[in-house]
Amino acid sequence: MADTATSTAPAQEKEPFFGKKERRLLTDPLNDNNPITVQILGVCSALAVTTMVYPSVVMAIAVTFVTAFSNLTTSAVRNFIPKEVRMIVQLVIIAVLVTVVELTLKAFNYQIWKQLSVFIGLIITNCIVMGRLEAFAMANKPWRSFLDGIGNGLGYSGILIILGVIREIFGRGTLFAGSPLEIDIIGAGEKFMINTTAPGSWFSWYSNNGLMVLPASALLIIGVIIWIQRSSNKKLVDIS
């Protein structure tokens, strides 16, 4: 680096495009700092949309898109945002992105838009998004903020998809129902791989767990995930 840029050069030299720090931005929220199980943010939508995998995946993509790009935008204009109205500005950025997601879904996947209904709009109030803007994007450069947004979106997505898989298998006996990849695993009927009503079936005792389609089950599963995570991840042991 040239001598003329001594004041800023040392900091810039230590910032590779995708170094260890950047990788940590992506991987930290997956486990050590997961938005749902560690920060306990965004639980509302995690309970509501995870009865099936397919809507969970769409919701996960939508939230990841919104966290990533709201972080990017906020960070890009962070030095221009007047401090007095910064929350409103963040909210407008989030709302614009969420509306873009909603309009896109309405045009290209109407069924899933109907199914997720109000929860797409409620991404605006998802604490993960606003939390990342306040805690990270307001104080960091755009590229790193973008990565942080992707990371947190993925951390949220991971839990959502785990919940969706468990709840759909035990609550409905299917996987990816409603999408072209639909797999019918167990249930009463010809179309299921294990047909519980077939004569002589070993699974004639089986029936779907009604609790799994209710939001309460998601809370129980999140609790179990937190339990497993805390007992296996040493970094989380003494946090409280």
Partner: protein
């Protein structure tokens, strides 16, 4: 601390940019979104006469759905006296809004499907209340205006797996086929959703276990909602437009 004028300018510029992006997006996606919505409601209406379509509704493409609707569906909008109202297309009738009006001012959508066999099927729209929120449905009647050929239901917020079964469980909906709306003396009885299982196999269907209130809601919705169409049925029978329920035993 920024000056007030800076804050004002910043918010103004931001609002204009946000408004431009959103209105641009809105108008760019509007045609596709409108078409999706039309196909969605038309599929719901057609699913009541699915048994008469000749093929699976799910296998019809969006364009085919619109085509069937254009070519084989006659739309009539009725007022509460059973008279046809000009100027409102039946598919444009918003049942949710109608439900909020005083009963005498409501209009009813009626779809008349002309099957491949040349027979007419009358599709009625009904709307009522479930446990958590509104429920609605479409009932298809045969030409005698008495025999049900199919029904489809949907809901806003019923519990999936319990009340949500009115939409998700094809076996439950299938019960409505071949039920009758009128008893032998010609009195309107509607179709009752009975807890513990249908007793009168002609006019009752089984309720859903664990969803008593939704089931009661469906009964009530059918009794009231189909009842709104009765003045029209009487006019039709008086004109000899429908063959009438007496011929059903032939």
């Amino acid at each position: 601390m920024e000056s007030n004028s800076y804050v004002l300018k910043f918010t103004l510029v931001m609002t204009v940019i946000a408004a431009l992006i959103l209105s641009g997006m809105f108008y760019a996606t509007k045609p596709t979104a409108d078409k999706n919505e039309a196909v969605f409601t038309k599929r719901a209406i057609l699913s009541a006469v699915e048994s008469q379509l000749g093929k699976d509704l799910a296998s019809l493409s969006d364009d085919e759905v619109l085509q069937v609707f254009d070519q084989q569906m006659e739309q009539v909008t009725l007022n509460m006296k059973g008279e046809a109202v000009e100027g409102i297309q039946a598919e444009k009738v918003d049942m949710a809004k109608e439900k909020k009006k005083p009963e005498a001012e409501r209009v009813l959508p009626l779809f008349i499907y002309k099957g491949q066999d040349g027979k007419k099927y009358y599709i009625l729209s009904v709307r009522g209340s479930g446990l958590w929120d509104e429920i609605w449905g479409n009932i298809a009647l045969a030409e005698d205006l008495n025999t049900v050929v199919g029904a489809s239901f949907d809901h806003k917020g019923e519990t999936p797996g319990l009340g949500g079964e009115i939409k998700d469980n094809p076996g439950w909906k299938a019960q409505f086929k071949d039920k009758h709306l009128f008893d032998a003396s010609g009195k309107f009885t509607s179709i009752n959703v009975r807890k513990g299982g249908a007793v009168d196999k002609e006019r009752e269907v089984d309720s859903i276990s664990g969803a008593t209130i939704t089931s009661v809601g469906v009964s009530e919705m059918l009794l009231r909602g189909i009842g709104y169409y009765l003045p029209y049925f009487e006019k039709l029978r008086a004109q000899g437009g429908a063959t009438g329920m007496q011929t059903e035993s032939e």
